[in-house]
Amino acid sequence: MTRRVQITKGILWFITGLAAAVTIVRFTRGLGATTVLSDTTPWGLWVGFDVMGGVALAAGGFVIGAIAHVFRRERYHHAVRPAILTALLGYAAVAVGLLYDLGLPWNIWHPIVFWNPRSPLFEVAWCVMLYLTVLFLEFLPVFLERTRFKGLYRTLLKAQLPLIILGISISTLHQSSLGTLLLIMPFRLHPLWYTPHLPELFFVSAICLGLVMVIFESSVTAWLYERRPHTAMLSGLARFAAGAIAFYLAFRFFDLWHRGNLHLAFENTFEARLFWVEIAMSALIPLVLFLVPRVRRSHTGVFVAAALGVMGFLLNRIDASGLAQVWATGTDYFPAWTEFAVSFGIVSFFALIYLFIQEHFPVEKEIVDEEEKWRQRQLFVLPRFDRLSQVWLGDRTFASRRVYSLLFVVALVLGLTLTPWQPLVEASPVQRARGGEVLRVGFPLGTVQFPHAEHVERIGKDRCGVCHHLHRPGDVGTPCTECHADLYLPTRIFDHVAHVRVLDGNRSCARCHPAEGPREAATAAKCSACHEKDMMAANEVVTRFERTDAPGYRESAHALCIACHRKEAENPDVGKPDLFRCATCHRGVEPHGEAVLEASLATAECTPHR
């Protein structure tokens, strides 16, 4: 195990720890607390990156399978096992990612029983299940190679070619079906991405991504384990990738031109800029780099081009399933850190499994042999005392385990502390009414009509306190919004610092807090103990001034207005039965609306509800 592997594993464990924390919140508090998804943006990073991106990233398995086994390019045999392992773990990661994203993850098996063959997602689900099985069978020989199950091992080796061809067929289907998935939303997806040829484009780009991913991964593994990369294989793959990317570019631009949408790419819009960033990262720059023979022969060059390609094609999936839809919905969506933590955490977790399998099973013989030797050496390294328990126990392998578990726990604790445990709710500050005539409040109706003068007349000039039940010291008729400042969320209205300052500092604690026991808000004296006269004006709803927080504007207005309106509506002397109806207050304030108000109040058949 090299220093690089140890540091990398430490980082991966840390991210996994963060994801573990979010996992706890996700499955106890739901999607609302852990994502910023909403009814206008039902799919986010977890679909775009984990599912769409994950499936495409794992395309290397079938591409390399085809190159090495079907087209018999023996040079690429080195790459087959790592690529199949990546595909296997990639698809497993997709399944795990789906568990997070599905609202009812315990029903993930439903497509097996409940069929809807007209749904692209149904087809993807079946293909992913079948392909996971195929990949497992393709990879099983690696686990069996050094065990005593020789018969099964030989049978599986014989079945390798049919399995690979089956895998290629299945991959063709679901890689393109992920594009089909988006065909049904022409109204959401920007025309720079939407085309009836999305399935074909997704298939071609999956091949591109599969190739650059295999290059990327071989380079990274070689760097991690400080081995020389297979230069010939990498440059050969780079040639293939160049071809595939060139075809993808030509296909995409021809399609855009053919549909007459090419000009959209040259407008000064967010989508056009996004398009060019994506095209440059995924296709243009890697293509140019791969076409230069000197770059193709240099490890760094191939690595940079492949890394760019991987990010670019991932961006393509994220664009198609999210960013390129902001245009239609008008809702900005930027993933919460919890979403990033889960996405990267799943990747990190499966990367750790990847490294573990590399180190313990013959995926790449050089790596596992080297690791075997390293582990043997560790047995003869001087053991150490454990610093805390002062016990003579482990060898050096425990040192790294201690570090990993420490990083994991630290990340878990941080994550659990930082995660919001409540669903995200839109804060909607209430605008203060001007002129006392019309109260402007937000969602969902825009405005509430409140004729102040009429209310004064009806209730009586001396009874302002019915609504203005609380005054700031020295104020009369303090507006509702002073305390009920948000439409939905409660507002803290008790200023402890000011009280301490005004009431002569620390010597004054006993004026509110009991002498014995904890000094809590819960046990402190109620506000009305002192402010009975100067701030309290009781009404039907708030009889005493006791709370340190004011409920949201809607809750308090409904509690106050509806009680009174109901009473008045039922009073035959008033003769206005419609007073107890939503539309009495909730309506537009345009002149037209006024006319309709009169009309609706005159309608006899209006009946109060609730």
């Binding site: 001087l382 805390l388 425990f398 578990s405 726990v409 604790v413 659990l416 620390n506 819960a522």
Partner: protein, 236 residues
């Protein structure tokens, strides 16, 4: 200003500290169990005298065996008093239990306030005594590392500030500042538990168990030791 810091220290920081302590201790226990089982695996020893191990652990957990020791009786007794205080006051002080009850709905038996006060004073005195004992004894002094000095000093802070928080009139400082120091020092201590020798609150059984069980070498172990020390030329 301090108001906000207190709100932070009582909310997120407290949760952070408690979580860090709980999960950190869990990690330590898991690692120790793993490492001990691995040590057994390496030693190739099949017979594990569990009965003996448990008996020894219980014996040392009960105080009189410890107090019966001849040498340094005063020091041992002070240490005992300190341990009673350091467990009883934070766990059974009425104010702390009230917070638990408020946050989680779970509460338990509490110490009478006067007892809690006296116990705190005793604990602080015991801590000072322990520090003095450590400083007075030459071999203790020689064995002490930085954390052996720092942790008792850090332990004094939450007890003194806690007393002042409960009785602001005894305090020469601003009550809010004292409360904030109380919270932060206690939280720092909680966070340090899994990463310092304080971890013995869950790992006390490890050294005893290892002493009883850990040194049972299988035949041929001496050869291994010789190899790993790089002294092949010398006899076992």
């Amino acid at each position: 200003m301090l108001e906000h810091w207190i709100a932070l220290a009582r909310g997120p920081f407290l949760r952070l500290a408690l979580l860090a302590m709980a999960l950190g201790l869990l990690r330590q226990v898991a690692l120790q169990v793993w490492e001990i089982s691995w040590a057994f695996h390496r030693a190739g020893d099949q017979v594990v005298p569990w009965g003996l191990a448990i008996r020894r652990n219980l014996e040392w957990l009960l105080p009189w065996r410890y107090l019966q020791r001849r040498e340094r009786r005063a020091y041992n007794f002070t240490s005992f008093v300190f341990h009673v205080g350091v467990i009883a006051v934070p766990v059974f002080f009425a104010g702390h239990v009230a917070i638990w009850r408020q946050e989680s709905g779970i509460g338990w038996w509490t110490l009478p306030p006067a007892v809690a006060d006296w116990l705190s004073v005793l604990t602080v005195a015991a801590l000072v005594g322990l520090l003095a004992g450590r400083a007075a004894n030459a071999s203790s002094r020689g064995l002490s590392r930085f954390e052996d000095w720092a942790l008792p000093v850090l332990c004094i802070v939450p007890f003194v500030t806690g007393l002042w928080t409960a009785h602001p009139l005894w305090s020469p400082f601003d009550a809010q500042a004292v409360y904030l120091v109380h919270l932060l020092s206690a939280e720092l201590l909680l966070i340090l538990v899994p990463f310092s020798k304080l971890v013995h609150m869950v790992l006390f059984w490890v050294s005893q168990t290892s002493t009883e069980l850990g040194w049972r070498f299988p035949p041929g172990s001496g050869e291994r030791v010789r190899l790993s020390l790089g002294k092949q030329s010398e006899g076992v």
